[in-house]
Subunit: 448 residues, 2 copies
């Protein structure tokens, strides 16, 4: 029996609340402090959320604390991408094999569910509206401020910073010697729009799908919600033409949507209001190391915030919790466990950051590309016939638990193989032939 | 006549003090605030300084305000590298053509001289021991704290942050949306050691040279001071073997030095004291963008701190001042000038950061490499005969005013050309031949 610890968690978002459950199950006593108000009591929509897409890594971490079934009831499976061209013509691309799906879920509902479960555990206490204003890494001490400006200190044996992309715990680490840190904003931002439900809560587009309007340098996407609505997100450059800067008036935005997203605009009665009032939000990638300094460790977005294009931000944070839980079981001492945690997870954090940027290009550009779709068809066929030999990159990331770092490595080799295959002059006629299939299998054996 | 401004400069280091002189000469009124005490009144040696090597970019910026001659009197030219092997055998490599040198100068003396000049100008005021504790970018306002904890606000038309690698102004920018930032610590740190003067202030090694003990993954260097001493710096990994971690005791450090730096150790009577008490200091590269936010701009290390291996940290900061001065003359409005300043200097900051890391590898590893030294000899010969066609990279960076970005670009092409040449099986016999010379000139015409 290992000694239990007095743990403090900064941040009661998705990762912080899940982590509190994992740690309390191990017998640790856990105090969680959150800057925001309790969203179960007062919810404020700020015109930005980016729908979450739960996939296998997330589900597995939720299963680990027994909440997966509850969550599944409030989520919608999305089995395929539906691509919309400028004429409103549709094309399709399945995400995986039959039955494989990613799940659209509301961030708020998921967070509330996790908080409910955490709160029921005797070893967990939650406090909201506590802003972290001071961090003493070596003493495992936080200074917290309540809404009246009253400050209190809390001290623990160990502190986890699950306080997100703009982590206060990480800010303190950043001021220590030899702490590597990068915040990188990409050239695109996003704006949220919406498609309302039809009569009787019906869906105005295919329900169990992720809709994409790929337009090369930018794209619109839509994810279904249980109430029949779709949350739409325009990912768009800040500068250049077209961009948030170039569309100076609502009229210009409307004209632009009429031209490039006519079928989506036709389903957006609130476009004018939403375009005008919803903010343009930025997208940031955070990289840092070490993740453990003194008696504190970073987890989730605080350690590795990424862009949302692979739907893996939450999933990777949940996986952090599951792997940490496993490592704490396997290692003799807390120190060794934390050292192994940061070493194992850092490479995977970097890999999913890279994969997410690659998937942006795939979604906005390649899904409108005939050659790319043919390549995906060939891969799907080979994967179906040789499941031990070929698992497409998307499936490795989304439907498997292969470490992201390894998935990226294999994916790069697959790219090389498929590039050779697609270079065949007869590929359009021969794509379905035993010859092409054999060439791929032979190449796998050569490279992997 | 352009309108003059009320300018505040945060930081009275080398770049801040030079900038104050440039701006005051234009008629602006300039208040400079410095966190540290006035080094002209109370100097504290902290066991770390890294000698400065002034080169042409720095000199030109100093000439622009008429102080170059004064500084030259307190500096020592270094005409060549002197490499020391483990047996104490010496080899040599000139830095440039006859008469070209880099200049060893004391950071403290140089800073004091610049402060003296700034202080004499009626348009400049200097205040020391004013720590910046608050920054309002949009209002051009700083909150400053004196040694008694008393806080005052100063407001200006525009603020420059020349407050170094750990800039308070930049920290405020870092918390604004879409500010890209990176702090990257390299795997090596440094420790300062010293060689005293001989009888009557004589030099115990060649005076007008930069001494290097290249040892592959690490190195020792020594720069001369006017009083006959040498300041030595060991650049050494933090981890691995050998490293600061692996040398656990003074005895182990001594044994190590006896083995790899015997001739240097023999000249270091204070080795035991210095090894024990001088700190191991880290080396950090800072990259960020934009450099201008609201009514503030970054300059020097605050915008682009680099590693010291090209001797260009100060030189690039001084060049920032000279180029900014020129741009302010050429542009109609302050806003356009600042936009052009950041655009032009950012690429050059990135380039010198990359060049400085490349030069570390050259110094610690390649200067002990026969093939590398042969390549340098070939380049020197071609450069001498075809000065319009071939200027070696080191000379472009150190002795010219070619933008760093362009120098790096040309340097990469030169690498490619010299790689082809060095691949000749007969290069050792033929290096001095007209044939090799012609091949190089032909390649330049092909690539450049």
């Amino acid at each position: 029996m290992k000694p239990t610890k007095d743990i403090v968690i900064a941040g009661a978002g998705l990762v912080g609340s899940l982590l509190s459950i994992y740690l309390a199950k191990k017998g640790h006593s856990v105090r969680v402090f959150e800057r925001r108000a309790d969203s179960r009591k007062a919810s404020i929509y700020q015109g930005r959320s980016i729908n979450l897409a739960l996939s296998n890594r997330g589900w597995r971490a939720l299963e680990g604390v027994g909440v997966a079934e509850d969550i599944k009831r409030i989520s919608i499976p999305m089995y395929r991408r539906v691509m919309h061209d400028t004429k409103g013509n549709l094309s399709y691309q399945p995400y995986g094999k039959d039955g494989e799906a990613i799940y659209s879920v509301s961030r708020a509902l998921l967070n509330q569910k996790l908080l409910d479960i955490a709160e029921e555990m005797p070893k967990v206490s939650l406090q909201f509206e506590r802003k972290c204003v001071g961090v003493d890494l070596e003493a495992a001490k936080l200074e917290l401020e309540d809404p009246n400006g009253l400050r209190t200190e809390v001290q623990a044996d160990f502190v986890f910073g699950s306080d997100g992309a703009f982590s206060a715990v990480r800010s303190a680490m950043e001021r220590t010697d030899r702490f590597n840190y990068q915040q990188e904003y990409i050239e695109h931002g996003y704006k949220e729009l919406s498609i309302p439900a039809g009569p009787d809560g019906s869906f105005l587009m295919e329900k169990e799908a992720l809709h994409i309007w790929p337009r090369g340098d930018y794209m619109l996407i839509a994810l279904p919600n249980p109430d029949g609505t779709f949350t739409c997100t325009l990912f768009f450059p800040y500068e250049g033409n077209p961009s948030f800067s170039s569309l100076k008036t609502l009229a210009e935005a409307r004209t632009f949507f009429e031209e490039v997203f006519p079928d989506a605009l036709a389903l957006m009665p609130d476009f004018d209001e939403e375009w005008t009032h919803n903010p343009n939000s930025s997208l940031c990638i955070i990289r840092c190391y070490p993740w453990v300094k003194g008696k504190m460790a970073l987890i989730g977005d605080a350690a590795h915030a990424i862009v949302p294009f692979y739907g893996q931000g939450m999933n990777s944070g949940f996986e952090d919790c599951r792997i940490l839980d496993m490592i704490l079981d396997e290692e003799d001492t807390w120190e060794r466990a934390m050292e192994r945690y940061q070493r194992e997870r850092k490479g995977n954090g970097d890999a999913i950051a890279e994969l997410a940027m690659r998937n942006f290009i795939e979604m906005r550009d390649l899904t409108a590309d005939k050659e790319f779709l043919l390549r995906k068809r060939i891969e799907a066929k080979v994967a179906e016939k040789h499941p031990q030999t070929w698992l497409p990159l998307y499936s490795m990331v989304t439907f498997s638990h292969i470490p992201y770092e390894r998935a990226l490595q294999i994916g790069k080799i697959q790219d090389k193989i498929m590039k050779e295959v697609m270079n065949r002059s007869d590929i359009e006629e021969m794509w379905d032939s035993p010859e092409v299939e054999a060439a791929i299998i032979e190449a796998v054996q050569r490279y992997l």
